[in-house]
Subunit: 462 residues, 2 copies
């Protein structure tokens, strides 16, 4: 089943305008809070204007400039306690692990893969199961405000095509990858050969480009699981695809656990570091998304910076799996290495980027403790940056999404912190400032605080 | 306004029976899972029977033995994905901080008290504000399955009475304490004198005993904020009340942060340790609930064990405040020191014991890392124990609640992990065992997975 994107579908509800409090990152340290912003989105789903300091008495005048008026259902005036933020970007997660979230915590990585993960992923051989489960997965992420996700699929070509179809159909911006893995995995769940692994990958890339030729939403991504599971033929085969297709993003797991690093070293003794290994096979460039990056020395940080690779920081899984991993995020920010957040769902028990923001804070507190304050903890603004603009940069999508700059596509969340629909949890008071409400959302919010979700101007949750 | 407990109110919906999967702790390490349990609760809210291995074909026969039949609305047959667990026990939280959750994270304790907390707590001078806010607080905790809470109130006698009224009215089992604090706090929020502090405390105790003479739900608790905020007159005055009333529980903050410990030492240089200080004033006994207990040496752990004090472990606040605190919970369990969980809401950003279980796991992973594996991380069973039976022991309520032993009062949660009402988050599959569902609930659940909440047999959430 091939679904091409149609502009008609995207144009529904457009143009639209939102008036009220608008918040987005400017730098890792600074957010811009527009208390009286007016944002207009054109028929193509792109932001056509963002006016600041528009007083309530001026709303009608401004709207009329843009050919809109307040009576239109696509004009939304936010109330106190509501604000607009960019959509969340999940730079690392595993779609076929959706159903295993919460199980297997505390296991070392190879035991966890063999006992918990591979049996789950193997079920995606069945297209019907894949369709049902991926639909629940994409719905679940959209409901939680993930407007862009970088998905590892299973090893199955057919199931991965289905995942791409579903992202397109439901309107989620997504990188989708057929997972490559031809060794150190059980017979029942392993690519039959390096050739087969590469063939299925190429076929999937062709399919993804057919259903979404402009990559308006869905982009195929090269997805070697990690060097433990890929032999040199698979890695070099993928490197050749990358060389021929410089627009293709690439993702893998990188310096995640001590066990994984030791096995990698035993399999590829010729490489001192994982950075050397993946670079050798042509898999490190500005489009590479490296998940975890916990155990990093000066040399490898230097390589990542030089090659402009992005880091997917996954604090939820890093603090609950075999190791207790504290990635040096403060150091990445200081050096200007691109870094965003990943749920790593289902290695991460949570599929929420809000949880990931909070846990990134916890990890940064642990790091501050372990370094006796030399690496200070993250601020709220930094957590928010990682979840939005930082993630966009990791995905090389910062020209398209991540902030509300004019010309970008409208991927946004309408947040509510007051009212009975806002969940039991968040409690906003009369004395709270916008900054208080913003902090409360980050530290106490869940999907119930996300009233609406837009991707490229299309409302995908309301 | 004085409300006395009436047996009529408690008896509504009773007797009741629940058939299906029933899970509770037996030891810190072991849970008992009854796949076909039948639990019956009498008119007094106490568990009258718990039958194991009752086959579906035998349900009617068993019910008839207890004078019940399946057509009664108070007979509930649980389906797959549903199970019954004991209610959660929150051994440490601050009711007047309900509205500040999520703000002030990362600050050192004295700055956090002065800038974030005291301004919030001071608002409870207004009884109307107290009534409205405490109603939201108690509703919020009940919705999240907290059937027993040990509350710090504000310093105000009137507001604290209102909190006791509300707990009784809404049916939450609670320890409620007027907070004592006559120094190191701003003029606008400080007990006027030691005498006033003690007088208001005695008056509140009398009130609580009047509205609930049997302490069927509400028990007054002595609540010196901490030695930093209480001079020797207040501490000795409270010690005298404790001596005269050996049934009264006592709560305070204990070895929470380095800053707090240094200030305590400067105020009471005659005491080497906080254990000596609080013991000297007669405030350490088996009914003492000591929040945090992070920085503990051999000597102080020995005192806690000897005096049989309980520890309220508060991992959510400990990992997000000034310090990154990793309480030695594994060591407490090993030594047989009583330990339960506290949300520490609003120092803790979350008011959910499910979040506290997960964060206790994270803290235990950090501790395992910091001790190079000498203090292994908690298991799921241990997290669950801390949230239920462990907390009951800390509160000296283990003869009343914490498990489903016959004769105990029925404080319970009906958990659902399947169906659209079960939240977006939890995802249970056909292949999942009861243990899988139990783990998924602990690691991914939220209040939406809690379908019903019972306290003393009364349904307080449905």
């Amino acid at each position: 089943m091939i679904r091409k994107v149609t502009n008609a579908a995207a144009a529904e509800g457009l143009p639209l305008a939102v008036y009220g409090t608008i918040i987005h990152s400017v730098t890792p340290q600074d957010v811009e809070i527009l208390e009286n912003g007016l944002l207009v989105v054109g028929k193509d789903g792109k932001i056509t204007s963002l006016d600041k300091d528009v007083q309530p008495s001026q709303i009608d005048e401004f709207l009329s400039r843009y050919g809109l008026d307040r009576s239109s259902p696509s004009v939304k005036v936010l109330e106190r306690g509501q604000f607009l933020i960019p959509g969340f970007i999940d730079t690392h997660n595993h779609a076929p692990q959706w159903t295993q979230r919460g199980t297997g915590r505390g296991k070392e990585i190879m035991e966890w893969l063999n006992k918990t993960t591979f049996p789950h992923e193997a079920r995606f051989e069945d297209p019907e199961y894949a369709r049902k489960t991926y639909a629940a997965c994409v719905d679940g992420f959209l409901k939680q405000g993930v407007t862009t996700a970088s998905y590892y699929g299973s090893l199955h070509g057919e199931a991965t095509k289905i995942l791409a179809d579903i992202c397109l159909e439901k309107g989620q911006r997504a990188f989708v990858g057929k997972c490559n893995m031809n060794r150190n995995a059980p017979d029942y769940y392993r690519d039959a050969s390096a050739e087969e692994s590469i063939r299925v990958t190429e076929e999937f890339i062709a399919y993804a480009r057919e259903i979404d030729p402009e990559a308006s939403l869905v982009t195929p991504i090269l997805t070697p699981r990690f060097a433990v599971a890929c032999d040199a033929d698979v890695l070099s085969g993928l490197g050749k695809i990358a060389a021929k297709n410089p627009d293709l993003p690439i993702q893998t797991h990188f310096n995640e656990t001590v066990q994984e690093m030791e096995i990698t070293k035993s399999l590829f003794p010729e490489f001192e570091y994982e950075a050397d290994l993946y670079e050798h096979f042509g898999l490190l460039n500005r489009r590479s998304i490296l998940a975890h990056c916990i155990y990093m020395n000066e040399y490898e940080m230097g390589r990542l910076k030089t090659l402009d690779c992005g880091v997917a920081h996954c604090p939820v899984s890093n603090t609950t799996s075999g190791n207790f991993g504290t990635a040096p995020v403060r150091e990445y920010l200081r050096r200007g290495i691109k870094v965003g957040l990943g749920t790593d769902s289902g290695g991460g028990y949570s599929s929420s980027i809000i949880d990931a923001m909070r846990q990134a804070f916890v990890v940064s507190k642990a790091k501050a403790w372990a370094t006796e304050g030399r690496e200070p903890a993250l601020t709220h603004n930094e957590m928010f940056y990682l979840a939005t603009l930082g993630g966009a940069k990791v995905c090389c999508l910062e020209d398209k999404v991540g902030t509300f700059a004019v010309g970008k596509e409208f991927d946004a969340l309408e947040i509510r912190t007051i009212g009975k629909d806002a969940g039991v949890i968040t409690m906003v008071e009369d004395i709270d400032t916008t900054v208080d409400m913003f902090e409360k959302f980050i530290m106490t919010g869940d999907d119930r605080n996300i009233a609406r979700v837009y991707v490229k101007g299309r409302c995908v949750k309301s």
